[in-house]
């Protein structure tokens, strides 16, 4: 202000580079942008051939490292000395220096920051045009001044008054380099002495040191304290929250402040690369490289920004992500656009075929799903065409045009997006356009380079978050140097985090690990100055410095030496790590140890947010010895606390409760509970499932929770699919023979029959392969061989059994209970003792009859089993196995009802026919007589009663290896309680099981 002798000063804040640009205005050169710099580095690596960079020449990490080094070298006053030191490092150093020289040659027509300062200094010497415009220059807390900048300031100082202010903290390790720069500037300006104003002493007036269990708790406690500050009248803009490391603190702090609904502004901008548009476009550009893998497509769709404010229709249609996931999984899509399209089309056709025998409601559902599958196939067709990139070696502008086209079509800018996202979206367009300039140094490019260049361009562009002056300042520790605050919070002063460990430059460090560019020293001094500056910012106010005792992933962390140093300042004596436990016990007012989350909650005076308030209330209630279940929050139905407490207590008890599968209260009112078993025709499987494990029944039949598996995880055909396949082959084969008038009791299978079976099997194999359900081709080869061998063995057995039984196959895949299927028999009804009737539907694999005229008339119901006979061993003792195998009895009943009066004098047997070597071609049968039907009625009644009474207790069965018998192959094993056996023991009696 001293410069404004009268009235007001016309002050314009600028960075020195902007001043230089203004002074050098009119130069013929153009600026070296980030895009051009990256292109120059790639070009500088091209003709190397020295074997040093060749194997990593494509790596963006190498480009970044070289870029950082080259920029530093350009700032050097005497680069030759440094280059010599780097060259002495050996092959890597020599190659680095050679690349730098090529880079210089490539970029000589452009100016970078040091060159701009030089140009400005020359311009300042030539002309005074700018002097009147500038008037005077105040250089305020410059972070760094290189030789070119000092020279520029020297030239400017000859014609305008210059005042420079440097921050001094009164300690050599923080001030040395700054003092050197100040002295150099003073010399350039011909100033004899440097005036020392004042230094900021340590510690500030009030300092609190805090230790928290982990970074999350550290941040939460910071927000609580900050909320107290705000309540006590401290302005938001007078508070700074600073951290040493962006990871993990940046996100934690922003999320915690958002949760507390406290406005904040970022001290440094957020990269455009983290925005919706940039992330989504980069993912879209990689779809071809990722071969349209199912995960890649779903990932991209999941991250696609909304287009609520876009008028143009979505080229992908309005299909929800869940539809993409469901249909692609059902269609067994793995990767490749062609596979997507073929398998989705096949799925659609299958769904349409299957809908024919369904009731109208089910048919409509399947037809709609087929439509969805076709729509996805069309979307993939379009996407595949649009995302096809220009060939590698095409011009930059072709790649840019391609990406712009995709951007416009699939991720159009939407002004309804949040403000930051909308701004980031516009910056994405600017970044895309800027890539064209790379052609000046690199005429052509590749998809890989183009994507990397775009990623780098959007990572380099930052946009401010929040409005300056309108919220809490959030940012890295060094971001607030020179700004005054009433409250400053510094997080993360843990060993290894802050100060950070100085890295060694692999391209430039010398043999003794010294950096010839002095970056390690600068980093160390910079971090020290940043901390001192942050504490000084709170001078007169209050600073809180904290560290976490673990990283949140169970790894212990320790206070950094600067934290201990501050503790020493507060304690008035040196403090070491080993002193802290004792100090915590002494609990001086300047030291706080948050022992745990609960301790943090118990200490809070102002909750950070609503959840915090509720937590505090619950913790206080609990500490006072009162029953948590009586807490007002536990009484509120919309909050989970009451239910969680009730669930925990219920499960611990001996009572059979709703949390154990007792849905008795719902049984009378919920149709969805009982519909599966008494709401029209049900299946034998439903009864068997309830008899095995009622909880599984609840999940599958009532809640319809589907076990999902990713197609790529199915390495071999699953047992269900294998069974369907074998049934299909046998059905086709026997129907053909039946149509030819064959299959009498003594009919002999010829070599031609075996050949025909082979042919039919291969047809069925091919059809299944096309659906992608056969797993890994090599495993499938073996499975096919085994299935064929089994089928031929079965034919031989079948002939033998037919002759021995004197029966002839008559019906195949005979449906019953499907009212819309013209060949279906009526449902198999089972009357219960209480007058109810339960109806079943299903399909009988095969029915053999004795030849006409043979007395007694006999029928054999056959159910093929393609697996092992494990689990059927006790069938002889109990033909229904306690309800776990009711199929045979039900099918026998279906036969009787289907034949009507013709079944009056029919002797009916039913058998499981194991049709594989694994099942040893065993036949396990039952006689379907009145006694069995009576027993069937009893079993069905128990199941129906269980369901209608809402009994769904998990029944694990006996222990079996590391699991339980009923859980070994259960898809829902993981969602079941781990203590299921204990729950069963305690509660099954009350559940009536």
């Amino acid at each position: 202000m001293a410069l404004a002798e009268h009235g007001c000063a016309n002050l314009r804040p600028m960075v020195l580079r902007q001043v230089a640009a203004r002074v050098a205005w009119g130069t013929a050169q153009t600026a070296l942008s980030g895009v051009l710099e990256a292109a120059a580095i790639r070009a500088a690596l091209q003709p190397a051939g020295d074997g040093v960079f060749d194997h990593v020449a494509h790596q963006p990490a190498l480009h970044d490292a070289l870029g950082a080094l080259f920029r530093e070298l350009r700032h050097e006053a005497e680069p030759a000395v440094v280059l010599d030191a780097i060259t002495a490092r050996g092959r890597v150093g020599q190659a680095t220096v050679a690349a730098f020289r090529r880079y210089l040659a490539l970029t000589c027509d452009y100016y970078d920051v040091p060159a701009l300062a030089q140009l400005a200094a020359e311009a300042a010497t030539r002309s005074r045009r700018w002097a009147n415009e500038l008037g005077a220059l105040v250089l305020y807390l410059p972070p760094r001044l290189d030789a070119a900048e000092i020279a520029l300031l020297g030239r400017l100082g000859e014609q305008v008054p210059i005042r420079a202010a440097f921050a001094a903290f009164g300690e050599p390790q923080a001030d040395r380099l700054q003092e050197e720069k100040a002295a150099a500037l003073a010399a350039a300006l011909s100033v004899g002495t440097i005036t020392a104003a004042s230094v900021s002493p340590l510690p500030p007036v009030q300092l609190t040191l805090l230790s928290a269990p982990d970074p999350s708790e550290e941040v939460r406690n910071m927000v609580r304290r900050l909320a107290t500050d705000v309540e006590s009248g401290v302005g938001l803009w007078r508070i700074a929250v600073l951290y040493g490391q962006e990871e993990p603190y940046g996100l934690l702090v922003r999320e915690a402040l958002d949760a507390a609904e406290l406005p904040w502004q970022g001290a440094v901008g957020r990269p455009v690369a983290t925005g919706w548009a940039a992330r989504s476009l980069l993912a879209l550009l990689s779809l071809h490289e990722r071969r349209f893998a199912r995960e890649a497509v779903l990932d991209w769709l999941a991250g696609r920004p909304p287009r609520d404010g876009v008028d143009a229709p979505d080229p992908l249609g309005a299909l929800p992500l869940s539809a993409w996931d469901r249909c692609s999984r059902q269609a067994q899509v793995l990767e490749g656009p062609r596979q997507w399209i073929e398998r989705l089309e096949r799925l659609a056709a299958g769904l349409e075929r299957g809908s024919a025998r369904l009731a109208p409601e089910g048919a409509a559902r399947q037809t709609a799903e087929a439509g969805v599958a076709r729509a996805i196939a069309q979307a993939i067709t379009r996407l595949e065409t649009d995302t096809r990139p220009p060939r590698d070696g095409a011009a930059w502008e072709q790649f840019v045009a391609w990406a712009q086209e995709l951007r416009a079509r699939y991720l159009p800018h939407d002004d309804q997006w949040p403000v930051w996202e909308a701004a980031a979206s516009r910056e994405l367009d600017a970044a895309l356009a800027s890539l064209q300039t790379a052609a000046e140094l690199e005429p052509t490019t590749t998809l890989h380079v183009f994507r990397s260049a775009l990623a780098a361009a959007v990572a380099a562009r930052r946009l401010p978050q929040g409005r300056p002056g309108a919220g809490i300042v959030v940012g890295p520790v060094g971001a607030v140097l020179g700004a005054p605050f009433d409250r400053v919070y510094v997080l993360g002063l843990a060993e290894g985090l802050y100060p950070s460990r100085p890295p060694m430059d692999p391209l430039a460090a010398t043999d003794d690990a010294r950096d010839p560019l002095g970056r390690r020293e600068r980093q160390r001094e910079g971090e020290r100055r940043a901390l001192l500056g942050a504490l000084a910012a709170a001078d007169g106010g209050h600073a809180t410095v904290s560290y976490p005792r673990s990283d949140g992933a169970a790894r212990a962390m320790y206070p950094s030496r600067w934290f201990l140093e501050l503790a020493g300042e507060c304690a008035g004596r040196p403090v070491y790590g080993s002193d802290l436990p004792k100090l915590f016990l002494e609990s001086p007012p300047w030291l706080v140890r948050i022992a745990s989350t609960q301790d943090g909650v118990a200490r809070l005076s102002t909750p950070a947010d609503l959840a915090d308030r509720r937590l505090a209330s619950v913790v206080a209630w609990h500490r006072s010895g009162r029953d948590l279940a009586q807490h007002p929050l536990a009484q509120r139905a919309e909050l989970p606390l009451g239910r969680a407490l009730a669930a925990a207590r219920a499960r611990r008890s001996h009572a059979f409760t709703p949390y154990d599968g007792n849905l008795r209260e719902l049984a009378g009112v919920s149709r969805s509970l009982t519909r599966p078993i008494d709401g029209g025709a049900t299946s034998a499987t439903a009864v068997e499932r309830w008899a095995t494990c009622p909880f599984q029944y609840l999940l599958v039949n009532v809640l319809r929770v589907e076990a999902t598996q990713r197609p790529q995880d199915e390495w071999t055909i699953n047992p269900l699919q294998r069974g369907i396949l074998i049934h299909e082959i046998l059905d086709r084969f026997f129907r053909e023979l039946q149509a030819a008038g064959r299959l009498g009791p003594d009919d002999h299978f010829t070599a031609a029959d075996h050949a025909r079976l082979d042919a039919l099997a291969r047809e069925a194999f091919a059809e299944l392969e096309a659906t992608g359900r056969t797993g890994h081709p090599l495993a499938w080869e073996n499975v096919r061989t085994t299935i064929l061998a089994d089928l031929h063995t079965l034919l031989e057995k079948d002939e033998e059994w037919r002759r021995a039984e004197q029966l002839q196959p008559a019906r195949f895949e005979q449906p019953f209970g499907f009212e819309h299927d013209p060949i279906s028999w009526p449902p198999a009804t089972v009357p219960l003792a209480d007058g109810r009737t339960i109806s079943f539907r299903g399909a009988i694999d095969r029915v053999d009859f004795s030849p006409p005229g043979v007395v007694p008339r006999r029928a054999l119901v056959i159910d093929y089993k393609s697996g092992g006979a494990y689990g059927y061993a006790d069938l002889r003792q109990d033909p229904l196995l306690g309800g776990r195998h009711v199929q045979l009895a039900l099918y026998g009943r279906a036969l009787r009802l289907g034949l009507g009066a013709a079944a009056d004098d029919l002797e009916v047997r039913a058998e499981y026919r194991f049709v594989s070597a694994k099942g040893e071609f065993v036949r396990l049968g039952v006689t379907v007589d009145a006694a069995l039907e009576e027993r069937l009625g009893q079993v069905v009644e128990v199941a129906a009663d269980g369901v209608s009474n809402g009994i769904f207790l998990a029944e694990p069965g006996p222990r079996d290896r590391n699991s339980f018998q009923n859980c070994r192959y259960c898809d829902y094993d993981r969602v079941c309680a781990t203590t299921r056996d204990e729950l069963w023991e305690r509660k099954h009696a009350e559940a009536g099981r």
Binding site: A61, A65, D511, A513, R555, S578, N782, E920, V922
Partner: protein
């Protein structure tokens, strides 16, 4: 008087000697390390950036760094020290961040970041945490399984492996096991495979035997209701398949089905006698068992052969995966150690520079060391003039550069590749450097007595398996109560069975899947 006072003083002051210190729990090993570092710094033999102290955990590293700083700060203000020593200590305090006091993984990562291009890496590589590693492994594995696995030479081999009962999950587990120890793999590593015999003739012979058993079922008194007779009859389709097996693979499939056969139970009284007087029941059982034994022998032979070949396939996959990670610039924790070892072993120039850079090396918790860690330490401490011997354990060391502390009693991290055999082997080779800290400062005499009594009995020296037990020395008085407690504890434990303590890990021998023979690398 401290029992090992002279040893302690020597460890602190004999700065030109290499030491391999065996220090039990509570014997003050950290204090010894800190004191030696202080002395090295004070006398100007080492600066912070030339110091490396490797700890087992990050917590231990942080604690050690704090202890070193504290000790140096005290030394810097210790009026009994000469001014130049104080100045060196003060300088070291300011530069403590330059010291490599860290875990072996951090240290190896630092080495690789210092010489990435020599290690074949880009200048800044990314670390994969365990979850990321597992995800990436799954992706690579799936890619290999569904593409490379379908091409020659993998195709035919995998098909045969599946035929012999190997599953995708078995393969995946084997690949993962190899990845966890791939530092031991070379591009030419192979596993011995036994010669196999043609399965066809054996299957045919066994098929005939099974078929002949049908006639013997007539001796079952319950006829076809007898469970053993039922088994024989049910096995006849299998007998046909065995007899008519058209090729080796069909024969192997049938032989495996024979192995799966579970004959029903019966008893001698329920069967009659054969014409030659033998019990028909016993004869049937014996024939079935012999058939199954023979089938197992043949199938196991084929499985061993295929298994060895599959391991070679997976070796290639594993090494290619590591190479791909290197090219992409991402590293797992195991990569850090392997690549750092390779860098120091294979690049003379880098090794020399690293040897110059690190003038003092401390390794703590050496009993739980990954063998790669020991190898890295030896390369760094190697005499730069001498040529590297074929076996890194024979490397001549620069006197005084290496200081190793360990306690075989506390070797508990075998699951993290800790190998007590490495410890034992190095202990034997560096016997001249061996020192023991036995004075315990943490526990009372009864506890020490109890520990000595039991562990001495169980930890019996066995080469490459268990180093000798070094008893701890107690300090302080021995109260009657404590003595009584110790006696009770002895009585309670002295009858427990003896067990073997940490064993050496096998070399590149991933567990074979259930029912499959083991393979040993060479």
């Amino acid at each position: 008087m401290i029992a090992d006072q002279a040893t302690r003083e020597r460890l602190l002051t004999a700065l030109d000697e290499t030491f391999f210190v065996e220090a039990g729990a509570g014997t003050g090993k950290t204090t010894t390390i800190v004191g030696r570092i202080r002395n090295l710094v004070a006398c100007g033999r080492v600066t912070m950036e030339r110091l490396a102290a490797i700890t087992f955990t990050e917590a231990a590293a942080a604690e050690l760094r704090d202890r070193v700083r504290e000790e140096l700060e005290r030394a810097a203000t210790d009026p009994t020290r000469p001014a130049e020593e104080q100045a060196r200590c003060l300088q070291a305090v300011e530069e403590i961040d330059l010291a490599a006091i860290q875990t072996v993984h951090s240290f190896a990562g630092g080495l690789l970041r210092s010489y990435p291009l020599e290690a074949g890496l880009p200048p800044s590589f990314a670390m994969l945490d365990e979850i990321e590693r597992a995800v990436q492994f799954e992706d690579r594995w799936r890619e290999w399984f569904w593409s490379a696995g379908l091409r020659a030479p993998a195709r035919e081999l995998l098909r045969r492996a599946f035929l012999l009962g190997l599953t995708q999950e078995h393969l995946r587990q084997l690949a993962e096991a190899l990845e966890q120890q791939y530092d031991l793999l070379r591009p030419d590593t192979t596993w011995p495979a036994p010669a196999t015999e043609p399965a066809g003739p054996i299957a045919q012979a066994l098929g005939r035997h099974l078929a002949e058993l049908t006639a013997w079922t007539a001796y079952a008194r319950d006829g076809t209701d007898d469970p053993l007779a039922q088994s024989v009859l049910r096995a006849q389709p299998l007998a046909d398949r065995l007899s008519t097996a058209a090729d080796d693979e069909a024969a192997l499939v049938a032989l495996q089905d024979l192995l799966a056969l579970r004959p029903g139970n019966s008893s001698i009284p329920r069967w009659g006698k054969l014409p030659d007087g033998r019990s028909a029941c016993t004869a049937v059982k014996k024939t079935l068992k012999q058939a199954q034994d023979e089938a197992r022998r043949v199938v196991d032979g084929h499985r061993s052969s295929v298994f060895a070949a599959v391991l070679v396939l997976l070796r290639a996959f594993t090494l290619a995966s590591a190479a791909a990670r290197r090219a992409e610039g991402v590293a797992t924790f195991h990569d850090l150690l392997t690549w750092a070892r390779d860098l120091l072993r294979d690049h003379v120039d880098v090794r020399r520079r690293a040897q110059v850079r690190y003038q003092a090396l401390f390794v703590d918790e050496f009993q739980d060391t990954d063998p790669l860690q020991a190898e890295i330490a030896f390369y760094l401490a190697a005499d730069p003039v001498a040529a590297l011997p074929a076996d890194w354990r024979d490397i001549p060391l620069v006197p005084g550069k290496l200081f190793v502390v360990g306690d075989p009693k506390q070797s508990i991290y075998r699951f993290r590749r800790a190998d007590i055999a490495v410890y034992d082997g190095l202990l034997r080779r560096l016997q001249h450097a061996q020192q023991q800290l036995v004075q315990n400062f943490r526990s009372v005499r009864p506890v020490i007595d109890w520990v000595n009594h039991h562990f001495q009995a169980h930890m019996v020296a066995q080469e490459s398996v268990q180093p000798p037990y070094v008893p701890l020395a107690a300090s302080g008085s021995r109260s009657r109560t404590a003595r009584a407690a110790a006696c009770t504890a002895w009585a309670a434990c002295s009858t427990r069975p003896r067990r073997t303590w940490p064993r050496s890990r096998r070399i590149a021998s991933p567990s074979s899947p259930g029912g499959w023979p083991a393979a040993t690398g060479r």
